[in-house]
Symmetry: C2
Subunit: 172 residues, 2 copies
């Protein structure tokens, strides 16, 4: 049975009749916990990539995107997929072309567009790193049962949809 305060809150949010400042402490705590988990795991992966392969996480992420696209991607595609700014990708690509991991060429049909691909070296190095990376992730999530994983996937999918809708309401 829900607490009295929960009932009041539910009435408020459904009827939209009252303007009492609602309590969203639970959502706030959820957000902080989500952020903590991500920061923790991300930091761990970053450190391991640096120690084992002397590569940064953003470079690894970019190569991961390209590994899934044998025909290459445009910078815009990469920017959208990685959810980072355009200018960010420009610099990242510059350094990876410099180190011989990426190949970049201007599209034949649209001279605005730059198409980038992994070089043979880039692909080989990425595959080597990705194999080990996968075991790190498995270890980081080792305490979760297969059921936990499924349930988290489901709830995070719902979270993603919710956040996208909210973001859409701001920028329609």
């Amino acid at each position: 049975m829900p607490a009295v305060s929960d009932c009041i809150e539910m009435l408020d949010s459904e009827t939209k009749a009252v303007e009492t400042p609602e309590d969203h402490a639970e959502e706030l705590r959820l957000w902080l916990r989500l952020l903590t988990c991500t920061t923790l795991i991300e930091g761990e992966v970053r450190g391991r990539l640096r120690q084992r392969f002397d590569v940064t996480l953003p470079r690894f992420d970019l190569m991961a995107q390209l590994d899934k696209a044998p025909d290459g991607m445009t910078l815009s595609d990469v920017s959208k997929r990685m959810m980072v700014s355009n200018g960010n990708v420009t610099g990242l690509v510059e350094r990876l072309v410099e180190s011989g991991h990426l190949d970049r060429r201007t599209s034949e049909t649209d001279r605005r567009v730059q198409v980038i691909r992994l070089t043979k070296l880039g692909r080989a190095e990425f595959r080597r790193m990705a194999a080990e990376h996968e075991t790190w992730i498995a270890d980081l999530f080792a305490d979760l049962t297969p059921k936990d994983v499924r349930e988290l996937m489901r709830l995070l999918a719902k979270t993603k949809t919710s956040a996208q809708k909210s973001a859409g309401r701001r920028r329609p």
Copy 2:
């Protein structure tokens, strides 16, 4: 009933007898989804903070830590809580002292230690921002039921513990 492949995997991971390369695609997908959710929400919050209050997310986060500690915190404390490097905090604090939001003084009992606090201005501005921030978070998570929120909290707590253990195994 679990699929055959699941049984084999379970046997492998329990007996540790076989060295076949296990499949951790599910964990990998979970990690990517977790990262997507965080990036999405973080970007949205960052943008709103900038538009509404002309403040960066790291500054807001630092002020949030200090708001919970009326007696102030040391830079190390802040660094641990925010899970960022020491040097990072130094610069962040510098700019917030400069803008009049923070007060910084050397500890009387230990001259290595710097104690920082919110100024009156800093606290007032933070409270104003935090109130609105809470509604953004509520909106971003609006599709989740109270039960979803509880369940996510539980699973993320488990995830955090798991990741901490894994990180501990690397750096004991």
